[in-house]
């Protein structure tokens, strides 16, 4: 997808839809780093952070990479400066690393969950768990194969920003959130519609 294999492709802008506000298109300040520095180096765990001096200054790193590197001085310094967030792979069992996520709540400005393909719904549950189990109140970004037609579901389970796949039309994307005025289950955004007593 991307000319640069170390980056997960997305629009240059993100769709930001904070709870209680209107959805808007914003500049994306975050590099979504795949953890792999070159085509020849498949082993992401040992790779080094991309250059944050000459491109975007913040980076979302794979959670698996964070687990290995989070104690390194350079990484810790950048994290403390608010430059590092993590993204969870679809098959990441985040409950196995509950302590690290609790700790991350004080460090990461943004976390993300990855959609390897749009019809893989695991990251919906990841976001739901982050919101209602870990009480994560910061931004959760959907990254990867993020298409217009899954925005509504994403917004309801707990995502509040979306790094759309580059071919997606942002004007259509913005309209998705107005399609329904009622719901029949509770969600992170609000309670289900009930008849007034």
């Amino acid at each position: 997808m991307s000319a640069n294999p170390q980056i997960i492709a997305a629009h240059d802008q993100i769709l930001h839809f904070p709870k209680g506000s209107k959805p808007i298109i914003e500049n994306n300040e975050w590099l979504i780093w795949s953890g792999k520095n070159s085509k020849n180096k498949d082993e992401g765990a040992n790779s080094t952070l991309p250059d944050l001096e000459h491109s975007k200054k913040n980076v979302l790193v794979p959670f698996s990479w964070w687990i290995v590197h989070h104690n390194e001085a350079n990484v810790l310094a950048k994290a403390k400066a608010g430059q590092i967030g993590v993204w969870f792979a679809a098959d990441e069992d985040i409950l196995k690393h509950a302590d690290m996520i609790e700790q991350g709540k004080t460090l990461w400005p943004v976390v993300a969950a990855h959609f390897p393909i749009f019809r893989d719904g695991r990251s919906f549950s990841t976001a739901a768990i982050l919101r209602n189990r870990f009480q994560w109140t910061g931004e959760i970004r959907a990254i990867g194969d993020v298409l217009i037609d899954q925005l509504l579901q994403g917004a309801r389970v707990g995502f509040d920003s979306f790094a759309l796949r580059p071919d997606q039309k942002t004007d259509i994307a913005l309209k998705q959130f107005d399609l329904f005025t009622v719901t029949t289950q509770n969600s992170w955004r609000g309670k289900r519609s009930l008849l007034e007593a």
Binding site: N132, V157, L194
Partner: protein, 575 residues
């Protein structure tokens, strides 16, 4: 029956608008087919062998005459003049166009219907007992729970892209008419003074299903208070969503996960998740129960005397009595209210095009019958028939005469020719073999009603491929179409059963050619007739004497027939 409030109506109307936009984007090319596919499937739209097929939801099988008339008109206006009732209590239209689909959905929305989640990797239309609310053996009317869970599952955001399809069945009667254990989740409702102060509770079975790897569900939770169903099911689905296999389509169903983990471990993981959400606000409230349950009160039954079978038979003219009695025996079921009965209209006339099909004319006529005889309500059954649930016993004869005129009065309910069959290779793009001509050939072979009556209860189910939409695994006799080197063959399973003693049938051996099947079935049936003791059903005889005599009979003519076939083929090849 349930009536939409403004929330339900707004939701289906907005869903139509959403899908209209998605279709428009597909038609102008801005939405690729691969990306449109899961969207259309979640709205019941398949692309079949010849055309688009739209599967419309009939939640828990309950609908009314107005809705049936709309289905009839959709069949007339947008299809080829018929609809097909399915084993999961839905109706399918086989010949719709993509362009027309939003308009069809808009017509459906006007009568409180939709096609939401009748397909796709999401929570499918919830099925239940076709006799819910009227069955003589019912201890809990499951419909309020069905409806609450229909609402809870409709457009559920977290479970919109599960590893595979996900099917609920809900039962509240002594006899299971839902094949509960063949569902991803089966919910058995109970009410007992000794449990939860006599409040409604649920036992949860998980990991059942047919298809390539048929498995019966396992009990994973008992005595769950009904209010906690949403949180418990959220936990269950969350575990499945996260850990169900996505690497292999054939191993993605929850049954594989439950089997791999063991039911005990799966249950433990669900509990582990549930403990964090069980006290949350997802649960149902008394107010919600009241809102929904008020729609499932009893209709305005008259105070009538209970008639004996003999009295009912005597309402018929003398010349009709024998035939009418037969219909009473097979197609009329006991009712909770004295003086009433439930009637099954057979959509399996012998030699029919497809089991479960109804023409526009039939649908319109049946809608009238429901108005006249059954408070304007109907039910679709798992066996692909229709039910008028609330008929006065004294009017059964009149109804029978009308039903005969519409060719829906064949007294074959539960008999060998009440065949469940998938659409097979005539329609379905997944099928390896045809189902419908096989069903037709069997019905033609066993066209003698006296003989069918003598044989008694036997279920025969046919699937055109391993996905087993025809539920061949749970037929006493199952027929499965298989492909061998581009040719259609048919494999026989015996000993399957639905109901309380649900069982998965066993494959008896190598498969047969299509034209051998009527003989094979005849041989199997003869084996039963020759071995049965008095009043012993097919399945009981099978369980007593075992598969061997049936198997030997089935293959009796096999060598000869194969040789004959080979000879014909080689002659054909050289001519």
């Amino acid at each position: 029956m349930y009536k939409y409030d403004h929330i339900d109506q707004t939701l289906v109307d907005q869903r139509v608008a959403q899908f209209r936009d998605q279709v428009a984007r597909r038609l102008d090319g801005s939405l690729a087919e691969e990306e449109f596919r899961p969207l259309r499937l979640q709205n019941g739209l398949y692309h079949q062998r010849h055309a688009y097929m739209l599967r419309v939801a009939i939640p828990y099988g309950l609908f009314n005459s107005k809705q049936l008339r709309t289905m009839a008109l959709i069949a007339e206006k947008y299809d080829r003049g018929y609809g097909h009732f399915t084993t999961r209590q839905n109706i399918q239209f086989n010949w719709v166009t993509l362009e027309d689909t939003p308009d069809i959905l808009a017509e459906l929305a006007k009568v409180e219907m939709h096609a939401i989640q009748t397909s796709g990797n999401c929570i499918r239309n919830i099925t239940s007992d076709a006799f819910a609310g009227v069955a003589g053996d019912e201890y809990v009317d499951p419909r309020p729970i069905c409806e609450l869970l229909r609402q809870w599952s409709t457009l559920h955001p977290e479970f919109a892209h599960l590893p595979r399809k996900f099917k609920f069945a809900i039962n509240g009667a002594k006899e299971d008419r839902t094949i509960l254990l063949c569902h991803d989740v089966g919910i058995e409702l109970k009410k007992s003074p000794s449990i939860n102060h006599g409040e409604l509770t649920a036992d949860i079975y998980a990991g059942g299903g047919m298809g390539r790897t048929p498995i019966l569900g396992s009990l994973i939770k008992t005595d769950l208070p009904w209010q906690l169903l949403p949180s418990y099911l959220t936990a269950l689905l969350r575990v499945y969503n996260r850990f169900g296999r996505r690497d292999n389509l054939y191993k993605a169903r929850i049954k594989i996960l439950v089997k791999a983990l063991s039911p005990e471990e799966f249950a433990r993981q669900v509990e582990g998740e549930w403990i964090h959400i069980k006290n949350g606000e997802d649960n149902f409230t008394k107010a919600e129960w009241d809102r929904v349950a008020k729609h499932f009160t009893k209709p305005a039954y008259k105070s009538l005397p209970k008639l004996s079978n003999e009295q009912v038979i005597n309402t018929a003219s003398e010349t009709d009595r024998a035939a009418f009695a037969r219909w009473l025996e097979r197609n009329v079921k006991p009712h909770q209210i004295p003086g009433y009965a439930s009637v099954v209209l057979s959509l399996k006339p012998h030699g029919s095009v497809a089991p479960g099909d109804a023409t526009t004319a039939q649908m319109l006529a049946i809608a009238d019958l429901s108005d006249q005889y059954s408070f304007g309500e109907l039910r679709a059954t798992h066996e692909q028939n229709l039910v008028l649930a609330d008929v006065e016993q004294s009017k059964l004869y009149e109804l029978w005469q009308e039903a005969k005129r519409q060719k829906v009065a064949l007294p074959n309910i539960g008999l060998l020719t009440d065949i469940i069959a998938c659409p097979g290779g005539d329609f379905c793009s997944l099928a390896n073999a045809k189902s419908l001509p096989i069903a037709k050939a069997i019905q033609e072979r066993f066209d003698d009603l006296d003989y069918l009556f003598d044989l008694g209860d036997i279920s025969l189910n046919i699937s055109g491929c391993i996905n087993s939409c025809g539920h061949h695994h749970v037929g006493n006799i199952g027929v499965l179409g298989v492909d061998k080197d581009g040719e259609e063959w048919y494999q026989i399973t015996l000993g399957g059963e639905q109901g309380n003693d649900a069982a998965i049938g066993k494959v008896i051996g190598p498969s047969f050619y299509a034209d051998e099947i009527p003989d094979v079935i005849t041989n199997v049936i003869n084996t039963y007739v020759n071995n049965r003791s008095e009043d012993e059903s097919f399945i009981d005889a099978f369980r007593r004497i075992g598969v061997t005599p049936f198997k030997e009979a089935a293959y009796k003519n096999k060598d000869e027939s194969t040789k004959k076939k080979e000879k014909t083929q080689s002659a054909g090849a050289t001519s």
